[in-house]
């Protein structure tokens, strides 16, 4: 059976976190879609909260701790990425953005990315398209057409409403699976002696 790697990033803060719940649902749906196509999926899921201090330390010192480096390697070496953030003050959370700020800005080129967000009200749903999508476009990732937003009421209001969240999750998972199938990112042989992405041509300290 062919194997593909899927990385899942959740920037949720609480326990349990609805952001993590959405991320998990997206991952499960994607794995199911890949399974239908005869593909085994290795999922690595990370709560950014677990490396929150490491992310800030990287921001200040310019290099990742071994713990954060492992997360960055898992994310950048995956065949697809599911990235989910809570919406804070009309945009991605600072923790979510900071994680992508410390990753080399070439490391996510061509990466299929499924973006998702959670918030207390559906009024924030466009943040996915005016904040999160442009960020990944800047990073030259392939952002899927379907992004998935879950407001509190999406987690179950009964009332016989049309269940749109599961539909959106399923559609997004299908789009991601289609790109992950053809990805060779996780099979690329890394030259252990190659100069890594941190060898920046602009060099030096960060300018300030």
């Amino acid at each position: 059976m062919t194997t593909r790697k899927l990385a899942v990033i959740s920037a949720g803060l609480s326990q349990p976190s609805s952001t993590r719940m959405l991320a998990d649902k997206l991952a499960v749906a994607t794995v199911a879609r890949l399974n239908e196509q005869g593909i085994d999926t290795e999922v690595q899921a990370f709560d950014l909260r677990d490396v929150a201090q490491d992310i800030m330390n990287n921001m200040l010192t310019g290099f990742p701790s071994p713990k954060l480096e492992a997360v960055i390697e898992a994310v950048t070496g995956a065949d697809g990425l599911i990235a989910v953030t809570p919406i804070f003050t009309t945009s991605y959370s600072g923790l979510f953005k900071s994680f992508f700020d410390v990753i080399d800005n070439r490391a996510l080129t061509d990466m299929p990315v499924l973006i998702g967000a959670t918030a207390g009200t559906a009024r924030h749903s466009l943040a996915l398209d005016y904040a999160i999508r442009p960020m990944f476009t800047y990073l030259h990732s392939v952002v899927l057409p379907t992004s998935v937003f879950a407001a509190s009421e999406d987690w179950g209001s009964g009332e016989g409403k049309i269940q749109t969240l599961p539909d959106r999750i399923d559609r997004a998972a299908g789009e991601l699976a289609a790109l992950v199938v053809t990805s060779d990112r996780s099979n690329r042989v890394l030259d252990p002696f190659a100069l890594d992405a941190s060898f920046s041509p602009t060099g030096g300290f960060q300018s300030n």
Partner: protein, 384 residues
Amino acid sequence: MQFGIFTVGDLTTDPTNGQTPTESERIKAILTIAQKVEEVGMDVFALGEHHNPPFVPSSPTTMLGYLAAKTDRIILSTATTLITTNDPVKIAEDYAMLQTIADGRVDLTLGRGNTGPVYPWFGKDIRQGIPLALENYALLRRLWREDFVDWEGEFRTPLQGFQSTPRPLDGVPPFIWHGSIRSPEIAEQAAYYGDGFFSNHIFWPASHTQKMVRYYRQRFEHYGHGTAEQAIVGLGGQVFMARKSQDAVRNFRPYFDNAPVYGHGPSLEEFGSQTPLTVGSPQEVIDRTLGFRDYVGDYQRQLFLMDHAGLPLKTVLEQLDFLGEDVVPVLRKEFAKNRPATVPDAPTHESLKAQAAVKAAEARANGGKGAAFGLTSNPASIGI
């Protein structure tokens, strides 16, 4: 092997008492520290160059010129000289002058600078950092090696028949190190010319320094300057000592926690385990420093960052006593063990002079064939 210290010359408030030295106090402190380097038996004092507060050394050759008169033995160097924003003509003049005044006890470490706005302040574009470093250095080399220079490039007004004065002492330009934290282009440049490569080392994990130095060594061999193990490597280091480890950690922690570069970020323990920073007893510093050789090979120069983050002068001088009395003598002995005879020492004015004399003799023995192409291995012979 050479040992010494390098300073960035930051003017920082002492976090333990809230006191900030005046500029003149800090400048005088740097001069005192440099003379202490000679007193405790070390070999090199290297001074940074900055053009913005909180750093004081904007005019390195003024300070190094004073030190040339006040010292007899140590090599006066830089950490780093800004090859991007300085005019290479002025570097050629200033350091040839210093070289004469210091009787040859001068070398330079070239770098690109760490502050974005310095580029526009000097009329340069930071995005051109690497091309500036390459072109300016190529011109600097010619100014020191050819008596009259016709030159045209991208970044500076052309020169016709220009002679930089004074000429390098004994016709031998100062040895050049290329300093870098993370740019392979600079390691490549150092290798291309057969110059030294100085890795900052102290801000990033050892695995990174290892890659950079390995790359430089490979390229040094590729360009035919010798084997990879003969390349000229310098490393930074950062230590703080007390007789007892616990005292060192307790005394250094407030300075670490508030330091301009890494303060308010990782803990002292985290940073110490992820970078070469060593806070502890002299023996711990010895053990850690000897370990550098395991990942960069036998190397030529070890400089320590000692006076920063608001450490008072008295403390810095005590630290230099530790280095001179307890650490460096042991390092000299231990680094000499198992060092292949083929690994050279860092070039000095005397060794370069002797090398130039040998080359000149060879050229004469060959009937001066090289001169037919306008080449000469002894710059002093041009125009005589």
